[in-house]
Symmetry: C2
Subunit: 361 residues, 2 copies
Amino acid sequence: MNSNNYCVIMAGGVGMRLWPMSRKVYPKQFQDILGCGRTLLQQTYDRYSRIVPPENIIISTHVDYTDIVHEQLPQVAKERVVHEPAFRGTAPSIANLACHIRALNPQANIVVAQSDQLVLDEDKFIETVGKGFDFVEDNNKLVVIGIKPTCPETRYGYIQAEGEPESELFYKVRTFTEKPAIDFARIFVDSGEFFWNSGIYIWNVQAIIDTMSLCLPDMMNVLKDVYERIPQRDARRRQAYELYTSFPTASFDVNVMERSDNVYLVVGDFGWADIGTWETLYSTLPKDAHDNVFIGGKALKYGSRNNMVVAPKQKLVVLQDVNDMLVVDTEEALVICKKGNESDIRKFLNDAKMKFGDKVE
Amino acid sequence: MNSNNYCVIMAGGVGMRLWPMSRKVYPKQFQDILGCGRTLLQQTYDRYSRIVPPENIIISTHVDYTDIVHEQLPQVAKERVVHEPAFRGTAPSIANLACHIRALNPQANIVVAQSDQLVLDEDKFIETVGKGFDFVEDNNKLVVIGIKPTCPETRYGYIQAEGEPESELFYKVRTFTEKPAIDFARIFVDSGEFFWNSGIYIWNVQAIIDTMSLCLPDMMNVLKDVYERIPQRDARRRQAYELYTSFPTASFDVNVMERSDNVYLVVGDFGWADIGTWETLYSTLPKDAHDNVFIGGKALKYGSRNNMVVAPKQKLVVLQDVNDMLVVDTEEALVICKKGNESDIRKFLNDAKMKFGDKVE
């Protein structure tokens, strides 16, 4: 493995659309959402430790979650868990991590990974990331993995590729598009030019710092100054930490990727899903003969179809004449509702907070 | 309180029709089924300790449950928890308890109580039992509380009363009838002659021993011999315990009550239900504006009607578009099924045992 290759796993989200399983005190990435015995974060770590040297894997999270990260990944040294004092969006976070890694290794290539994604064909995935690393090693291009869409999904952002691929699988990116309406999504997929935005980025550390310095010069000047001025790692981190809250909230996709002309897309075709909602989970996972998806739980079903059921592993779940429902059972909450209506989950949570207090979150 | 008055609380049942809440290792009488902070056994104890001196309350249970009884009723001395080594039906159990109490006090009057019943008007209930005690004090009549039926319930046994009451509320009993079909139940209720069999009996100890000696002479001879021959209480109990398994299984109602001509009925009209099935619980308990019954749980409901929901007290339960369902959530199992189909519960349990082993019971 190339010792210049680094991986940053982004693990700071709260994932409230997967409530009540995903909770503010214990978000989805720290849970065994798929019922396979490893949490999403652990699975992500396992996946990337086949691509970069394990000592080059850095976890980025919110300060509230550092203890959970250490508990779930005891093999990751404390200094490789970078936490932020406040939520300021993806741009300040990626900038800070880039400066941090450049101080460790100015020749670093970095893959920015998400901690809440499902990958079915890991070998193909590893091959794709490997090609991305090769592509960015000697130039200042930014790479994003674009997933070949399998349906007009409206829960993902889309990336439009320009004409023919430059070298094998790498297309120049024309536009980034936020989650589209279903009509647009259909047109996107039919055109063959659009790919799902995986949120997985690959670049060399100098390229991303140079690009961000053009897009967000004020923030980058502050950060670069800290990293150049303070030689001791701990003192530097403390200073960056203190300055972090003064940064404006900024999205990396909007402020950097959409405004840069050096962004390339590598096609990913390895069975991928962002585990953002119960519905994406349902559409991704294998179903039984009656279109039910069961995660965890010992299931007994009678005349029940098209349900998504999530329960603790050891729990017996009996369903009779239950159809088209989402059933999520955790220690704290049981939700039984119509499947596929994502916005209701947020409503339930808000109502529950109003009625029973913030503890339900 | 009359120091000759005793109460035996029958607490040995397994109550599988209330599975998964009622479990073999922890049957319904030991659970806070109503979500009021006291288990059914504790509620029963509280109720009868207003009628007889607490030191005259005896708990009859299966050997497997003695620890639970001591835990839930620490105020009951060990020797007042009588357990049986095997299930032999109600007749041997009542006979053994009668002999046991006669040895303590030959002038005893006894009320045999069930540990899984709901009583709404406790004052009226206490008055009724008190009248029963007065009635049996000086004669050999056996009294059963007959509940004035409020609907043609097919889950209860019925008792037919003969003509006019003998003294105030006491009718001579004509027949006992097992759970009837709905057509018969309607005729019974319309006739005004039939009452629900509460399973609550009142008599003096000599009357029940004399009556049982006529109906089940072999068993009674064995028992009486033990109690007359062995003066030490512990040795006597040990001997009765050893002989118990040799008794044939026999129902008290069938073998004693139905065959005796000294049985009287006192009318009970205090809001009563036998907590035998989810449906009886549903029909008994107060409903919200949409005909839902919630026991335990912090409820959030959206467009959901006519459900029976049982959950742990602290658990948040969100229902959306759920109708006519029974939802029972315990630590070990979650059952979501059509409400009102009692026989299915047994089927679920049997299937679960076949598929996942006896531990689910």
